[in-house]
Symmetry: C2
Subunit: 714 residues, 2 copies
């Protein structure tokens, strides 16, 4: 049993204690809990603990340095007689002292969506007669199941009631399979529900026209699904059947993993760090060190918004803040061995509140494993022929979220040379709306008959709290420019040099790849003994397109974080959210990076935070349907004169004896018929929150023929 | 025995036949062969063959369509009495008819470096008394071995004699190990050799000063190596020893590979393509099809130049054209199983001319293997909890080149969703020059005492000859822009749309990521039946910094290809080289993409070629020494309305049963002492061109302990 660490998630018991504290504090008014999470300790209190821990302090010494154990609770209070009003509370409780130590009644903002609201929404819609009448007008085939995707309402003016909208689809009438891809059967109505009264208040009608119709509604087919056809992804329904010529590729680690896990701490190849999780950001990384030297205090995916670029109403409200509106962590998948992660896997569970506001375990939301990413470094002395080559072994911390139609895979990837990459992969199903038969639209692509996949963007922001050899860092913008072509400086006209501009005040900057603009996070107080330069980590910001919505538009005002690539702010406890704390149904971004930067704080040789916003402008193609192949994005943080040599120069270069030569064969390619069974298919997730089944590992040899001349074994 | 294909490399026998033909044609004058390679068939002649082959034509029918088998020979002719002149010939011979069919005496250009010139250069230097005197002045410790890296001379004016330069280092006097990293002991002289007379003609002295010295020579230490220290990478000399906590990670394919190799053709997951190789471009890819549909006619890495940004003489001549000057293929490594490539590997050999101009086999220069790159696509229906997830299996065609100090790893990576990625990795040792002790320089980083790693760029160009459902294609530049904020078009101000600009005439364009600028290669004559758009492949050009040398400078004039990101030209047989045919010691770029584009050819719905130039501005850091961790770059070509759905939707989603759960362990971390033995070290390459040893595959279990609870087997 490992001693609890200040950064460990709350236990189920702690969640329930916190709940009891606020319940008691609000007595006699009932409460409805939205979220209860660890309130991470203040940095001033945590740093001494982490430093002592890193130096190998005893449990007793650490006990003296332990910060108070706090929980933050977000909940509604129900005041009898005033049920139509919202009393949205944000409290902090001390779990050691068992008291509430801070309380804030949040005004002027909407709370994030709760698990309960998302769960109950479809029934609110289907039970509405206004909705039922609207469905009748669609002339659907008899017994068509209507499917409702619950969505946040999007931006609106201040003081609007709490609303949600539903994106509506039908299940293929032909199969009526519960896992049929309903996005191939979009319906042209959006019900809007008042989440206080729990009533449908109106039905928005979608414009379904093509290029010739401008912003107007289209003519629409008489029967809304008239021209739609199924486009399935579940294996038994894939048209034409599955490939049968893909042979297994196994990752075997016969001597076990190279990582060590002690509670929430991971040690691997000179790295040590701690993994956290919360319902908003998903997996977070803390106290990152290499050979004991501090590099990052905290890393996270801070926000992601998905604005749609279709100018027709009501799509100006089609803008999801997947972290702030409902929480990415809350949407995290239960990962399955051998499906989501290959090789020797360590899983971490999450503890969050369930739809009843009670603590519950969500198993296997984070997976940890190694992977081989080709060659790490190589050199051959051509004179002697002696080559030294090492493999590029990486460590991956990954979580996957599902937000109705979309999937996102987030990973922190550590390498042996001190590098850390933040990777995002987009997959899942593009959001679709109906389009009149035979038409095309400038606002998206027709990916299936009668189905328009709308153009949109994915705008991410990662939050990097550096601690390069200590907390006082400086962010420097560095570019490479030609030296002026003068006889004194550059007689042959080919020379260039770097130019550095430090951030003295909090602010922002943009990518400029044409200048090779990079950002170095340096510690001015520590010099590399070899080069004489200050120790640093560097990154090249992704030069992707940022938000396309006009700056004054409602959409853009809500996501100011996505107007610049790099933000540098001065650290303050609790300032974790690039687009501000309360994004759901916001009128504008409040308390996000723009507001933080506008404080004009001193940030030179200070405790700074770096935020990097980047985007994927996603104009769908037919190949994105029914499920899109992953779109991969990476941003890497690498040491820059932090070490005195390649920190991976001491990686051994043994030949991997399990590799084998190919024998020429010719294999016929056949297609499996759709009716074949899939007895080890990926993957049915249990709905309940039981502990993960211990998957029985069968010998791969049991599946079939012996290997052809691989000669490898365990 | 597979029948020879028109794109197969020449056999040793064919090389020798070609040699005999030109030798006979030039009789009685002796010849010195530089290179003999396949002259790829004219497209008009090859296409009917490829199309028939793709349709399954019989060998007899193919025999009728077979183009003539041609070889191109580059050689010098020695005319007795006129030995000081150069007669540089470029001939084409017909191997079926056994006659020379074209002959060109190349004037105004220098031939590429030959294997013989590179091999003999060091001895020309060491035997020179001018050089020996210069070395004496360096006051090296007694018995110091001087190491000479042969280099191309760089740019010069027209009509200069054929020259080479040597970059000079010392072997660590302390160890005198033949594989010691001599780049830690750079010497401040560069001998220049006239390669016709084979004499050292002068010794250039290097500026060794720091920032305070400007362009002048530095003061220099009395003993050139006075402040240098070793910085070793061979395992037995790595300071501090090696890591011993890295456990093996094996890639096992118990049912064999999913690819099939027939001669030079590869079939894998609906792809088919052919692999070629030549001494200039290394591995090339031909006739790429997916489900039989044509996508690319030919793909290659066309050129790479490495200009140095240090303005001091003689570094204006430090500019290597690694493809054109000597040939990337000629520098290709003999790849070792389990070191360079992991898993189940198929190797391809090359046939090139040796230093005597005779045909020889160079084994294992290309490796082919699969890899798992995480999740391919995933969707979970959150209502039922059913998830479908597939792995992202990729096929890799890889070759590695060593150019004195540097290594480059090139790979063509195919995925199951119709995507093709061209990847480059830079590794090896940065080029170093001496710097006075205690100084730093704006022109590079001090990576070891007395050692400056100079700032430089790597400027690549890939050549893409598309054949999207046929030869007549159009290149379209597409961007995403906000729609003007007007009530008629965009009332809420958030809408955006794409804008397309086709290339009508040959020309160029640049990356513009702020507009999400992509390039689509479309076939206007074929429409996607679902979306109504023309079928296409798309790519996002790397928005990296291009050449920094001033446009009028000698350096820049030699590499005009690196002045823009994207070039579109009209196809002509033999136009393969982005920076022109003859780059060695050039005065300017001739016959490169700029000249091709300047023809102003019609390229709309024509047989077009797309060239993409991208760079890595490399300002070294201490972590790059002694060998740098790979710097990875990728550009991907993806289908865009080419298919009617995700082409990988039919990839099976079986659970991989070999994956296993982790057990918590804590392992002590110890360092191996440097004197430990390395009995399976990577990797000693044989100098001779014998066929590759069949590596004995030992069971991984023979190495040590049994696996901990992995449960996996074969």
């Amino acid at each position: 049993m490992v001693q609890q660490h200040p950064l460990d998630q709350l236990t189920v018991n702690e969640v329930n204690i916190a709940r009891a504290i606020v319940k008691s504090a609000r007595h006699p008014h009932p409460i409805v809990v939205r979220n209860i999470v660890l309130e991470e300790p203040a940095k001033k209190q945590l740093l001494p603990y982490l430093d002592a821990e890193n130096k190998g302090a005893s449990l007793k010494e650490l006990g003296k340095l332990k910060p108070p154990r706090l929980a933050r609770c977000i909940y509604d209070v129900v005041i009898p007689g005033r049920e139509t009003e919202t009393f949205f509370y944000d409290s902090v409780v001390d779990l050691d002292q068992r008291v509430e130590i801070d309380k804030n009644i949040v005004k002027g903002f909407h709370a994030p969506l709760s698990a309960e609201e998302i769960e109950v929404f479809p029934s609110l819609v289907t039970s509405s007669s206004m909705f039922q009448d609207a469905v009748k007008d669609l002339n659907l085939p008899p017994n068509t199941t209507v499917v409702i995707d619950p969505w946040m309402y999007g931006g609106c003016s201040e003081n609007e009631p709490r609303l949600m909208q539903g994106l509506i689809y039908a299940r293929d009438p032909g199969s009526n399979n519960p896992d049929s891809n309903h996005y191939a059967f979009p319906l042209p109505i959006i019900p809007v529900v008042d989440m206080k009264t729990r009533q449908v208040v109106r039905i928005d009608k979608l414009a379904t026209g093509g290029a010739e119709d401008g912003l107007k509604e289209g003519t629409g087919p008489k029967c809304a699904l008239e021209h739609c056809k199924p486009s399935e992804y579940i294996p038994e329904l894939v048209e034409g059947g599955l490939r049968n010529d893909l042979k297994p590729l196994n990752v075997i680690q016969p001597k076990g993993p190279s990582f060590v896990v002690i509670g929430s701490q991971i040690k691997w190849q000179k790295w040590s760090f701690r993994v956290g999780f919360n319902p908003r950001e998903g997996a977070t990384i803390h106290d990152v060190r290499f050979e004991g030297r501090s590099i990052f205090y905290r890393l996270s995916f801070s926000e992601m918004s998905v604005p749609y670029g279709d100018p027709r109403a009501p799509f100006h409200r089609k803008q999801a803040f997947d972290f702030g509106d409902g929480g990415a962590g809350r949407a995290a998948n239960n990962l399955q061995l051998g499906c989501d992660c290959l090789g020797l896997i360590k899983y971490f569970d999450a503890v969050m509140t369930d739809t009843n506001g009670k603590g519950a375990v969500y198993p296997n939301v984070i997976c940890l494993h190694e992977q081989d990413n080709g060659i790490g470094w190589k050199h051959t002395n051509y004179r002697t022929g002696r080559a030294v080559v090492t493999r590029n072994r990486q460590l991956v911390v990954q979580f996957i979220i599902t937000l109705a139609n979309y999937e996102y895979i987030f990973a922190y990837i550590f390498d042996q040379a001190g590098g850390l990459t933040l990777e995002t992969r987009a997959s899942g199903i593009v959001s679709t709306v109906p389009i009149d038969p035979g038409k095309t639209s400038p606002y998206g692509d027709v990916v299936s008959p009668g189905v328009l996949a709308q153009n949109h963007q994915h705008l991410f922001c990662v939050r990097i709290d550096p601690a390069i050899d200590g907390q006082n860092n400086t962010v420097i913008q560095e570019e490479s420019h030609p030296i002026p072509w003068t006889p004194e400086e550059n007689p042959y006209g080919h020379g260039y040099r770097t130019h550095q501009t430090p951030f003295e005040k909090s602010g922002f900057a943009d990518a400029a790849p044409q200048f090779n603009r990079i950002f170095k996070i340096v510690n001015r107080n520590k010099t590399n003994p070899i080069s004489g330069r200050p120790v640093a980590y560097k990154f090249t910001p992704s030069s992707s397109q940022l938000q396309l919505a006009h700056p004054g538009s409602l959409m853009a005002r809500r996501s100011t974080y996505a107007s610049h690539h790099v933000w540098v702010t001065k650290y303050r406890d609790g300032e974790l959210y690039a687009s501000g704390r309360w994004t759901n149904q916001s009128a504008r971004e409040v308390g996000g990076v723009a507001d933080m930067a506008a404080r004009n704080d001193d940030v030179d040789n200070e405790d700074v935070v770096v935020w990097h916003s980047f985007g994927l402008t996603h104009n769908p193609r037919t190949e994105d349907f029914p499920v899109m192949p992953v779109e991969i994005h990476q941003v890497s943080f690498k040491p820059s004169d932090f070490f005195t040599r390649n920190p991976a120069i001491d990686v051994p270069s043994q030949k991997n004896l399990s590799s084998a030569l190919y024998e020429d064969t010719t294999a016929p390619v056949n297609k499996l018929s759709p009716s074949s069974t899939f007895d080890v298919g990926c993957c049915k997730y249990p709905n309940s929150q039981t502990s993960n089944d211990l998957v029985v590992m069968l010998a791969a040899g049991a599946n079939g023929t012996k290997p052809v001349s691989t000669g490898a074994g365990l």
